[in-house]
Symmetry: C2
Subunit: 526 residues, 2 copies
Amino acid sequence: MARAVLVPLCLCWALGPAAASAPPNLLLLLMDDMGWGDLGAFGEPSKETPNLDQMASEGMLFLDFYTANPLCSPSRAALLTGRLPVRNGFYTTNAHARNAYTPQDIVGGIPDSELLLPELLKKAGYINKIIGKWHLGHRPQFHPLKHGFDEWFGSPNCHFGPFDNRALPNIPVYRDWEMIGRYYEDFKIDLKTGEANLTQIYLQEALDFISKQQASQQPFFLYWAIDATHAPVYASKQFLGTSQRGLYGDAVREIDDSIGKILKHLQKLGISENTFVFFTSDNGAALISAPKQGGSNGRFLCGKQTTFEGGMREPAIAWWPGHIPAGGVSHQLGNVMDLFTTSLSLAGLEPPSDRQIDGIDLLPAILQGKLIDRPIFYYRGNEMMAVRVGLYKAHYWTWSNSWEEYSKGIDFCPGQNVSGVTTHTQEEHTNLPLLFHLGRDPGEKYPLSFTSDEYQRAMERISATVQQHKATMVPGQPQLNVCDKAVMRYGTICSCRSSFSFLILFCKSQKSSVLSGGTGSVAFSQ
Amino acid sequence: MARAVLVPLCLCWALGPAAASAPPNLLLLLMDDMGWGDLGAFGEPSKETPNLDQMASEGMLFLDFYTANPLCSPSRAALLTGRLPVRNGFYTTNAHARNAYTPQDIVGGIPDSELLLPELLKKAGYINKIIGKWHLGHRPQFHPLKHGFDEWFGSPNCHFGPFDNRALPNIPVYRDWEMIGRYYEDFKIDLKTGEANLTQIYLQEALDFISKQQASQQPFFLYWAIDATHAPVYASKQFLGTSQRGLYGDAVREIDDSIGKILKHLQKLGISENTFVFFTSDNGAALISAPKQGGSNGRFLCGKQTTFEGGMREPAIAWWPGHIPAGGVSHQLGNVMDLFTTSLSLAGLEPPSDRQIDGIDLLPAILQGKLIDRPIFYYRGNEMMAVRVGLYKAHYWTWSNSWEEYSKGIDFCPGQNVSGVTTHTQEEHTNLPLLFHLGRDPGEKYPLSFTSDEYQRAMERISATVQQHKATMVPGQPQLNVCDKAVMRYGTICSCRSSFSFLILFCKSQKSSVLSGGTGSVAFSQ
């Protein structure tokens, strides 16, 4: 495999006062299915996130920050590679415009040819840890410690379950190479009460790692990818019943409390001015699970799985005392893929030059308040559904979910219905895209008139952007194509299984370099 | 007319450090059709209200603050009387559950028997001024200077128009007793560009009045009831085109800028610690006018005219440096009627004891962070549509608007559709109210199961509240009943006209104590 040669650059990140010789620590707080509207700072009416709201008031709030895909796996693959899923392989061509992901019995995962952020950060001396959900594949070759991470505490997948059978065992939990247990067995989740102490465990892991790294004087990259807000939602006993919002709010409150503790820990250790912290989420709130198990996308349209704003616009906060001016608000169009490039920039590294990188360096926006002109592409599986340029968003395809699913009560846009927009068939608008002005109409309710001058002017610019994007697009080998049957029902773990299987099952006493057992297969989620 | 005897109390409002002998000035900033979601502090995605957001960070944000009616006139009548419109007469019995208001050709208005806040404040030595929209009637007996105000600059009505005919002249603008001109003629509003400098005029009026009062050392009550966010929306030239949100956002930005200037003026004069300021709106955003002429109710359901949260929950901020702790957030259920009682309390006055007052004194919530248990009643015209007790809201009637109107494209809930909730016929649920938990489900999308224990428990408490409310309700004489034909089309100024008319028309040179000319009639707005 050809790897780009990475030469550490001058440490030109140090635009703030702390122009020290060592690059800053990097702490990425990635939420799971948390929506744009879930924080007080973003208008959640119960306003129960004092720590995150304070983080925003001490740092910079991003109002126009996006994910690269409205589903967990491809979003995370994009974040760690700085590349759209259609480039890094986290998509399928077996079905049109369907997001694919990595349930435990999938055989696909992150290709070795992809360069992940932690791999690159090693060149600058970083120690890298992932706490929580990996989601880039279950097979041995996809283990996070094979892709640049030095430590791992967490799971290759969501905490679905309990499955409790040999063909589909409960999801394993790992410490580094070792599987140390399974959800529901060794790591309890009470589906009746919603009680689980996992966030506390993940918090302690973070505090311990930060303390250890501070003592070792080596810069760290901590990827805190917790999942309490992903259905089945959970919270520790001390937080159960404490939120106006019910169990989902309990989970948010525990996360908020934990993040407060992590930031205070950095301050107490005296390394807050040398630690760049970024908070965001992997995709929009899962409205199909609302209200008990799903969050809020504020006034945006629809949620997870869709390429409407509710599916892809994320809450985002940058925090770096002494560097980022307190109380800043940015309208920079940002993307989780930018965290790849920005982190490299902070580490004094250049992004790889042998491949297309979609993420941009956000430091000029974060540290100098600049606005960088760049588009946002909204993909669903293998299809570019929409694009945002400035305040305009053009939909080339619209789809919520199928009539078949919708008729069964599965609704990606509950309580919302915009005629001709939240369509239940895949509608192509390639010749005459539906155009929205997201400033006047953040809820995507009022398409601009096709005959207006404004439409013509905006589409000229957008068309040029799309043309260039498509002309230079070289899709990666789809990694989630193993299964030929693309259609699945939402909520089913897997639609079909391939003929091969790896029936090596594990228990706590068995050390193994294989991430889980099960039957190899792949799933598409619509 | 029997008037309650009002004896100034001890000045027990002075719970903060400035326990001076004089009561504080009262400054009420009342917006027109501004929605809960229109400010950055409430999650508006463009976050263009730095002054109001700062006001919130220096004061107290109310997240659960309501109007008494989702339409301008009755809301304002309730605010100034502390009483529900069904008590103070600002309703009609000619039609069921229809809000009535006061277009210029109406004969109804605020009855003399009602005691208005400025009348009462006079007992404590206040000088009272209204700047902007009165909306409590056009006939001479309803003039604000006949109801306790000492000064007036503004209009008896919205800036609808241009009408420009003798039967329905343009809306007049008054300075005190004198009509000094008319909208579109002497006070220009360019409907094509949206340009009008009215907010600047209202701002200057406020600054001048505050300066004058500060010099005179007399406490003041300033009711700043501006209307730039009511369709037709307007802004001054310097603000046109400055907002991401279009013209509506330009208007909001100008208001935000103006409020910043007013607060700075108080600080510059050294009276900010002796001036209690409250910001709120008269009803939810008018979604029928969105996106160009209407605001945002965030994630709440529907808007103006309806008794869903979008119609009645309001943005609200209390500001009183040195008294209200900075950065406070309150979940106190508040209501515009509370501003009546709270203002009296601040002035050291008791509310009238000879009539039912619905407003409560919010000072314990504002100054001591207490939570006062009280219900919120959601009325539409003569019908109690819903009630909120704690986090539960029960709908006894549901209605958005009629099928007839809806089929013509008039939509109070654009892009929203909750089956069985946003009904287009008036649906009675008196025997089995639709129940929502506003913490878990602020968008009123998921009615609780009628058979659940939670439903039974919550409804027991709510039923008792409603029973008491209805048992003790003595409706006032409806003042807006003149017209027998109740049905009107939305957007029409008036549905029918009574037989009498007062065809005295006015011009700038004619001093008069009559508020406007036209044909007497009344309108119902559904």
